[in-house]
């Protein structure tokens, strides 16, 4: 059962990924990315990461994607022109990506897996276990992310403000 779920979700994710890079209109790319994110959230659930599953749907498929859709709605439909200026871009990229995929494939085959720790899997990945990690060992990085978000918010407000000479 879990195997069937994995393969359906994986196929959807790869199809969505291909959609992201092949659709000509940005709005279709964004909707393909939503498909990728939803199928990845299913995989997170398979890997007993319940909290990451919820965060993935709320933060990514919800907030970030709505942000992208808003920007597309704001900018209007932008189309890509037929050809770029760099003549060998596509060929060179294909070569580079094949090498990259081959390298990663070889790395995955050669991973030395460590003996897993003995953890209660019914507790693993739940909100409680995440919270125990976030608020004890990793409290400092957790607080730093709040500063990161504050800086990002201030930066976005600064960049999108109305300039005096525009008025």
């Amino acid at each position: 059962m879990a195997i069937a779920v994995f393969f359906v979700a994986a196929a959807l994710a790869v199809l969505g990924g291909i959609g992201v890079i092949t659709f000509q209109q940005p709005i279709r790319s964004v909707l393909s990315l939503v498909v990728v994110m939803l199928s990845l959230s299913v995989l997170f659930l398979l890997l007993s990461a319940q909290f990451i599953f919820a965060a993935q749907i709320i933060v990514y498929a919800g907030a970030v994607m709505v942000l992208f859709l808003f920007v597309i709605a704001l900018l209007g439909p932008a189309r890509e022109l037929g050809r770029g200026r760099l003549r060998f871009q596509t060929g060179l990229s294909a070569l580079f990506l094949l090498v990259l995929l081959g390298l990663m494939w070889a790395m995955v085959q050669g991973v030395q897996y460590r003996q897993p720790d003995k953890t209660d899997l019914s507790f693993f990945g739940s909100v409680q276990s995440i919270a125990v990690g976030l608020f004890t060992t990793y409290l400092y990085p957790f607080e730093l992310t709040s500063i990161l978000l504050l800086v990002a918010a201030i930066g976005a407000i600064y960049l999108s403000r109305k300039r005096i000479d525009d008025l």
């Binding site: 879990a2 992201v20 997170f44 990461a49 890509e80 995440i130 990002a152």
Partner: protein
């Protein structure tokens, strides 16, 4: 040892890692080949998601929560990156229409 027992079925951790590698390469392809700056940002999100999948897979294989915590952190970073990237993009589009990211190469010094 890389086999994961999920709901009674045996799944291999390397399947998840290979899927993550494929998604990462697709995102890299988007960044390299596409020329619309918005689509490039979307492809970067795809690559970040692929990395998250690898993190969560290793967390499950080692039965260690730290991988999931790191995935949460990278989600936060991805959200911040999207916000600032889109703000820059909107600011650029206010001045001019960019159909090709190479149009901006004149900004170099």
């Amino acid at each position: 040892m890389s086999t994961l027992n999920i709901g009674g079925s045996q799944l291999d951790a390397s399947w998840f890692l290979l899927l993550s590698a494929i998604l990462f390469v697709l995102g890299a392809a988007g960044v390299l080949v596409r020329r619309n700056p918005l689509v490039i940002l979307i492809s970067i999100e795809l690559m970040l998601n692929a990395a998250n999948l690898a993190l969560v897979t290793f967390a499950r294989q080692l039965q260690n929560i730290e991988g999931q915590l790191f995935a949460l952190m990278s989600m936060t970073v991805a959200a911040a990156e999207a916000v600032v990237g889109l703000a820059i993009l909107v600011d650029i589009f206010r001045v001019r229409d960019v159909e090709d990211i190479d149009d901006l190469s004149e900004m170099k010094g």
